[in-house]
């Protein structure tokens, strides 16, 4: 069996990304959609870190650091919106939000 290398990490990252995507597409609960988004971000991070490590440069991890920071901001705002919406509409089912839109 071959030793674990960059491609393994990328594969895991890809699979994680796919799961996140599925979560976004399949789940109706806005919170779950959000979590799917987080999974995606983390998949990206994993790829970045792996690249950085095997590529021998710092940039990947630097970028990952920034991504984590921005993700935090995004989560805070996103959840704030969800809470605000919930307080207004008492539902966080995305379908309903969609229906509000159109």
């Amino acid at each position: 069996m071959m030793h674990v290398g960059l491609e393994h990490y990328l594969a895991v990252s890809g699979a994680l990304f796919a799961l996140g995507l599925a979560c976004i597409v399949l789940r109706r609960n806005a919170l779950l959609v959000f979590m799917g988004l987080e999974l995606n971000l983390n998949a990206a991070n994993l790829a970045l870190v792996a690249f950085s490590r095997y590529g021998g440069h710092a940039e990947g991890q630097v970028l990952a650091t920034f991504i984590i920071a921005i993700a935090a901001a995004e989560v805070a705002i996103g959840l704030a919106i969800i809470v605000a919406l919930f307080r207004r509409r008492a539902t966080i089912v995305t379908d309903l939000l969609r229906s509000l839109k159109g």
Binding site: H3, I68, A69, A72, A73, V75, A76, L79, A80, V83, R87
Partner: protein, 145 residues
């Protein structure tokens, strides 16, 4: 190729995690083995609310302030992470430029960073997001005696 020494502390830590989880499992399951058989009745299974049946079934929602504080926490947590990293590196960064540092620019980075975030903090403070009390509990002017 992947020297184990690097990971050694983490492996030890992992061992501790395993041990601790093992202990927890024992602690959680033992009383059900050792203690008296569980009995159930409607009252025993109901929530304790000072001796009366619960006034409403599930806990209701509560003040949005708790969310706000949690959200603010996330944001400031990031700040803390950056600051910790900066703090650890500070003495290297502050070295004059010749010696591989940035000189006072190292401080300026953090000061600007902090100023921006402090603006947010002050904004939250001013707009009352950090206040729990309503107007009545806030200290009022003491009446002149």
């Amino acid at each position: 190729m992947h020297p184990l020494e690097h990971f050694w502390p983490f492996i030890a830590f992992g061992a501790m995690v395993v041990a601790a989880i093992g202990f927890s499992i024992i602690a959680v399951t033992f009383p059900s083995i050792l203690g008296p058989r569980k009995t159930h009745n409607e009252i025993k299974d109901s929530a304790y609310e000072c001796g009366l049946p619960a006034t409403t079934g599930t806990p209701a929602r509560f003040s949005v302030k708790f969310y706000v504080v949690a959200m603010l926490f996330i944001l400031f947590d990031i700040e803390v992470v950056f600051l910790i990293a900066w703090g650890v590196l500070y003495r290297k960064l502050i070295k004059p430029e010749g010696a591989g540092g940035l000189g006072w620019a190292a401080l300026a980075v953090a000061v600007i960073f902090l100023l921006i975030l402090e603006a947010g903090h002050i904004y939250a403070w001013r707009s009352g997001a950090l206040d729990w009390a309503s107007w009545r509990s806030r200290p009022q002017q003491e009446p002149r005696a």
